[in-house]
Symmetry: D2
Subunit: 427 residues, 4 copies
């Protein structure tokens, strides 16, 4: 059964000033080992290697997402809006708080390397034999299923799903503000108070009052800038490439029966691709960094070189290339191999996806749309109304980037054909 | 030989906006593995368990200290002050950048547990067979010795020592600002621009023009508040106590030949108390956390309980006690032992030192004084002039705190004599 | 009768982000000519001549005081504290909003020159034949009397008086934050959220929960710094002295039947000392500045010189003097007169009062005390608990300042006896 | 002859923290009556009636423009860039400081009403018999002509003109930051440090290094938002309309020999359209507000009503209209006249110009372009490179707004034909 705390508890927060906790269940969830583990997983993965301030954890971010959600709901309650189902408050708060609990260390890279998905893991943790599950069940036997359904977007109250995941959700608002605060890149400043004040529950969706259009435009422009300035920064991509190559090499070696100088639980099962929830929860960035620190001394040259590069920040260099086709890529790889390099490990060609803009691009599911609520109750997708949103939603900006170890390349440069060599010249 | 970079390089920083690097040597020092290791050591040790924002590293802080020092020196150069020896610029910058490079994981706790000193380690790293040493020697064979001498406060140009370590140095100014920014506690805001503008080299000392007295007062009051709000926070002390007890238990077990379920290099030599520089540099907070994560499953109950408490943030509770004497402490310990607890691990009584105020207390070495420079060139210690400094420098504020595991205490409470039990009641 | 607005209205504010108006009466009060007049009266009087950013008006400040009061009351309502009389909400909000409505142009100087008191004028405006009075009566015939009683501190619900005027009231909290924001002097940053969260209605008083002690200490230290950095700045005093001398001269001339080259309503009645409410409301800083601008061309040399000095910011210089007695002052005045100067206008000796510290000095009426509320409901005055408050509340810092027109003094310097001349040398 | 100050002087500033003055001439210019007058002219005209924080003056802004220019030049000097003519430093600083000195009260409205131009007045003040002229001549007889030529854009060193006036000049950068700071609208935050660091003198132009493209994009988006959020806000337009109508009525009455209840020098000559420099300098916002305050009691109903509306902030209401043609406007005006209103005073139809976007629109003079400097020294207009600039530079966003006195309209509403009445309904 749901219980308010006898006295509100607060966390001092650099972004929201204070995080307010009013429910016993929320307080207990924060104090589970599974939630505390998020302190050992950085919010921005390897971005700290590009922006040294990006050292904040998913723990801090998760508290922030919870706090914004709490403020939205409390505004809905004060306004007494009929479209908001008041009994869903705790489900929504728990889902907001826990939505990232399934993230692994260096999340995006590890997911790609081991074909995992953090949302699945979040659901497994919520539903599995964990303290989180126990706390939720203490409130209501059904609560774990409900929270997992919100995260899996299958919950039967779509407005709760929409509150927790949408192009203008608490998750995105918190990370823009927090990442801007930590890195010092001020493009992320958005008028949070104004946006929150203008959100409305409407017909199973969270919409924005039309008078908030400029604040939403500003939010989308901030996001656009943050993506290109921070999230897609090529130096960060370079460090992610190293990570993926380390995992790839380790998997390969493990499969081939290589005897590792250092391994510790649950690495063997991770490399095998077969982790229990309990084992998954042992994974954090401390453990991964410790393993890589030991692997600097592995006898396999490739693994040891890659691990050293990651730990000591000797990243691959990159060049930007306007256009690339498969033939060119093949010929570069061929030339490198011929010159004695190992193209599988000594080269990566990368094209940043433009996913962030899909979310507010017209068409597609309305789940990915930001809807404006007019005075007469009519609802319009923002790019119908805002020319600036229309303008930026059409922009494709990605370029190809080619990453490689500069010192190794230098060693073989003379042996490369001129037309291949030219690709490696910064323009 | 000293070389400027062909083009200034910058790091985006949340506190100083940009960190400007103009010298090849500084750039190379930042890129050594020894300096990069500081990314894996938090600036505020276990404070993140009290203020979740305190996740920033000594890497960020060290860049900040370097930047403030660079600004001070460049102001001295612009002002062409005769008391500043211009040829010492690079020595001072290197010492500022490297002054924390010898910090170990959870520095204060590990130093106490293993009787180490981070300044010694800094000197050993600067002088030893390290990349830092190599970079410094590339500039000048004598540079490592000079930098180490500044850090050891034995350098023969006392003004350089005073610039790098004094009660108003770049180190303290950066950490007040950075810790305030990260935690969100705004007491740390100081008028950095004004203080920097009013610093003057004078007679082998860095002094402040008298017109800056109010800014210095404000700086000292900020420091006072930050000490009591952040640095001496009892919850942080509680987590440090856990750390120390973990190390204590591990040493004890190691000495007694206990067979650890998990150990990794260089833990055995740490527990033995005999580390090489190379081994010391393998220590970071990732490794320590990984070890503790594995020790949650050790068969020794005490080690496993303490490790679990630290990793899952199940801290000891505390009560504040106005006065304590040895007899009382003994009787509490005795009663706990009788009731079946283990006073060595289940109790800690702590009195925060008031060190921060000594530094500006009148008397003692002038190294610890802040000196004001009057219009006629006369120099006065700040507390002679400022009533507010005089007021706060006399304040002793510490109280005794008694820390203990609440659940264990609850188990034996009934068996404790009433007068002992009363000590454990929050007033 | 009290009416909520159909939809909350907001003002964008640089300090509080948004000011929220929820009551029709508040909205209407803001839109009265009497309240709009506050836009033409600066919050910090002549401080803009020292800190150019200090250009903000009492209008902005009054909205801020209202907003903080609104937040305090809404916290009391949410907490459902029995000691807060809920029916007093609108009385308190109106008094908070209107508490400065009786301020005249360059308030402190004009009050001193014409023996007026802004609180009296506030009451006269609230009770007189004004739009403010009409708006209040529309809600309730008794409301004007109630609001005036709160301002006059005679209201029979002392907690309402204490909420609006006390050493930790919304007025002081807003001005510290707003003056810091406008001037750029960051000493005024206080942890408003924390203080507000810890205020409690208790026994006819607003008290602070003891856990907020550090935040209150910080607030008092901020205030201390702001007083000495901003409010008592000698350059600001210098401009206030000019103002008072202009008024003094004009009164004198008026009394003596001098024919002014320029006068406009209601100046004659101001100089006579006999203003109606309607006339008083015509006074604002625009009018005073316009009059002074015209008086630059008055045929009376003293009036024209003083007016020119004020308008063109040719302020009197000052020297700081440790000690002064009446005899010394007399001898300086005598010597200046003998040398041909006019000591009544060419000299001012000033000693800043230390009023701000009285307010939290122990003893005296408890109205001027900040009370802390302990866990067992016991109440203690803050300086009993806080050593730092005890320390700063005893500090007297004022020095004598002597102000004079440098150019005139230079003209007669040679004719002054050496011991008098020495007083005018900056030390 | 140019003289550095013996000691740098500083002004505390809320935007730049400190303004640094290093030249005697700059210090003296700031202390002229003509420059001090800018304290009585608001930077944002009537915007304070929409955003109450917008109370800052052109004095503060002018200091800010000077400071940014000083920082740019000092960066050019440090970098020793050959394209920057070092001997132009003081000319550029004076022009930057003085560029707004010719602004009148409520500048845009008064210029429109009396067909004046503030740049002409700036030149007349710089060249006329003023203290500013005297200070400049003290440095160099030619300096007034040089400064005036920079302001008139006829100076023979185009790079100085471009430094002082261009789409990325110190003027624009200061006002975005300062207006954002004062109003609390955070859309104006730009990365000033980064932009300044990347400016380069190049071939008679100030250009930006290509690596600064994102910072410039962000600057242009900020400007876009500030224009639509602040500068073109319809409530501000409404108050400007009142101002213009007051001036129009007064001119009309003056021309017709109406006997004003109140007039003061230099109003008659302003209304006649024939002001000397000395008279122009008497005009400031205090004087205008004082006149309007007195005109509340004029016997001419129109003048008295308009003046009351302005002083008491009883603004005209407005409706937004997608499209308007001359015929429609004529029919509305006709209908209002027929119903007994005075369309010349009781109606205004307004279309905000889109001037701000011309400045970075492709084509047209390169003076209005922002140029990026590539690695090989090639120069490209920003919209060639930036898709986002291309996108926003094409956007036209203005709509027609119709302004009118609500109370008067209500009085005649029933007498208006339905199709006319419909225009006055908010959609």
């Amino acid at each position: 059964m749901h219980q308010p705390l006898s006295e509100e508890k607060v966390f001092k927060d650099p972004v929201h000033n204070y995080i307010h906790v009013q429910d016993t269940a929320i307080w207990r969830l924060i104090n589970t080992p599974e939630f505390q583990r998020l302190r050992r997983i950085r919010q921005l993965g390897t971005s700290y290697l590009t922006f040294h301030g990006a050292e904040h954890s998913r723990f801090s971010h998760s508290l922030g997402v919870y706090e914004i959600t709490r403020r939205i709901i409390s505004q809905f309650e004060r306004g007494d809006f009929p479209d908001w189902p008041k009994e869903e408050r705790l489900v929504a708060l728990c889902a907001a708080l826990l939505h990232d609990v399934g993230h692994g260390p260096f999340s995006h890279s590890i997911e790609e390397a081991f074909h995992m998905n953090h949302e699945d893991w979040t659901c497994r943790i919520v539903l599995g034999d964990t303290k989180i599950n126990a706390v939720l069940r203490q409130v209501d036997e059904e609560l774990p299923q409900k929270v997992a359904a919100v995260i899996a977007k299958t919950y039967d109250k779509p407005i709760v799903v929409n509150l927790v995941t949408s192009p203008l959700d608490a998750d995105r608002m918190d990370y823009l503000l927090r990442d801007a605060h930590s890195t010092g890149v001020n493009y992320g400043t958005i008028d949070l108070d104004r946006i929150l004040r203008l959100l409305r529950p409407h017909n199973g969706r969270i919409v924005v009052k039309e008078s908030g259009m400029h604040a939403v435009e500003d939010y989308l422009m901030s996001r656009y800038q943050m993506y290109w300035q921070i999230y897609f920064h090529p130096v960060t991509r370079s460090s992610e490439i190293l990570l993926r190559k380390i995992f790839k090499r380790a998997k390969e070696l493990f499969k081939n029966g290589y005897e590792f100088g250092f391994l510790l639980d649950p690495l063997p099962d991770l490399l095998k691709g077969d982790l229990t929830v309990e084992q998954y929860l042992m994974l954090d960035e401390s453990l991964i960094q410790t393993v890589f620190g030991q692997w600097k001394r592995e006898k396999d040259d490739i693994l040891s070189d890659l691990s050293t590069r990651f730990m000591d920040r000797k990243l691959y260099k990159y060049v930007e290339i306007d256009n690339m086709d498969t033939d060119t890529i093949d010929s570069i790889r061929g030339a490198l191999a011929e010159a004695g390099l190992h193209p599988e490990y000594d080269l990566e060609i990368d094209f940043p996806t433009d996913l962030p803009y899909d979310v507010f691009r017209k068409g597609g599911s309305t789940d990915n749309q930001i809807l404006l609520l007019g005075r007469q109750g009519e609802v319009r997708e923002i790019s119908e109304v805002s020319e600036i949103v229309r303008s930026i939603s059409g922009i494709h900006r990605g370029k190809y980037h080619m990453y490689y170890p500069q010192n190794k390349l230098n060693g073989v440069k003379d042996r490369l054909p001129a037309e291949i060599r030219n690709y490696f010249v910064k323009q």
